[in-house]
Amino acid sequence: MSGAAFQQAAWTVHTEIFDGPLDLLLHLVKRDGIDLRQISIRRIADAYLEYLDKLYEVHLGVAAEYLVLAATLCHLKSLEILPRPPTDTSGAEEPVDPRQVLVQRLIDHERFRQAADQLDQQRMLGRDTFAREPAEIDGAERPLIAGLDAFGLLDLYHELLRKQATPDPTYDLRGRGPDIGSCVRRVVERLGGPGGTAEFSQVILEIPTKVERILTFLAVLEMARLQWVEITQAEHLGPVILTSRIETDADLSVVVGRIQMEVGE
């Protein structure tokens, strides 16, 4: 394979042709005409490793999941070469043949690849066939429901009043307006001493104006970069927790001055 052609082929590992290591393995099995019923682990392990090697040659990063399969194949290959330990006849359970596990995974993978093909051949709404939007029915004829109770109504009213109470601030252009320094101070004070924590969204919501919220957001990012605050999130979409890492006796004005310098304020 010429260099350019190979580069092209290698590149496709991360695009549509190989969607993950099993996909690549299946491709190699088919390419080399390997019979799945008498699969030689050595043959497909070698083919797979050789392919990964070529990827490294062209300095392409290989995703971790490709390496996991490589390790599994090497392990299987070593089992095939080593003599099998005598099977424990007293145990009722048949030992699982790791080769069969791999074959089963390849078969399942192929099975669902074909199922995906079949889905794609279904008459697809929006591609092969089109329906109509439901026609508008004259709303005046239909019964109305509120969708919320009296407390919900009150909440809405309360929300409107609160929005009205905090109009966008007006700025005196001669002055400096809100600055990042005061935002840093606010976050540090809110978190308390070292180890003090608060939920990030709470911290932001307590701040009255949009501009200060944005500045505080930037301040927190900058503080995290300087390792003065730790940002953690226990689970995806879970709450984001800020933890203060500033020593109690640290001079806050130094901290603030550093950030102001960093952001060029």
Binding site: F130, A131, R132, E133, P134, A135, I137, G139, A140, E141, R142, P143, L144, I145, A146, G147, L148, D149, A150, F151, G152, L153, L154, D155, L156, Y157, H158, L160, L161, K163, Q164
Partner: protein, 195 residues
Amino acid sequence: MSGEVHAFPGAPEHEVSPEVLGALEALLFSAGLPVTLTELSLALDIDPEETRRGIEVLAWQYGAPNRGMELVHVDGGWQLRTQPRFAQVILKLRGGKPLKLSRPALEVLAVVAYRQPVTRHEIEGIRGVDSGGVLKGLLERQLVRVSGRREEPGRPLEYATTPEFLRMFSMSGLGSLPTLKEREELLRDADPAEE
């Protein structure tokens, strides 16, 4: 919305291929909105005159007693619609589902409920957006009524809620509207950790 139904008395003489008729029907069906002769001709890659003849044949076919739609000339284009004589059954199939009040409607209702009698100007002051259309809808639905006129320059109309409003929110009277204080108490009781 009005539109003109073209009922052609006899079968049009024009020869139009079944394929063009089918395609025209599919296009008009899936478009929903009125489509012009030009748009149809471009999509089908045929002469506008042929499209016009096709439309004429199609409109005539929809005149048969076993058809449910009609072809209407509206807004400079052609549109498929259900025949008016089926309005009742359609309403029976689809009209039973209740309509939910929109967020703007709920907001205006909230302001009227807590501030009544209130002028449109005051409502808009609190919501920060024009509320004329929403208010009109609520008046038509009889959730809000005109209760009088404010004694100030321009004598603007004042709005208040109606018995229908009380019914919708299952309240015996305006006295049952919860207050801000009650709301705060409720929140404290519900989740002490949150305060």
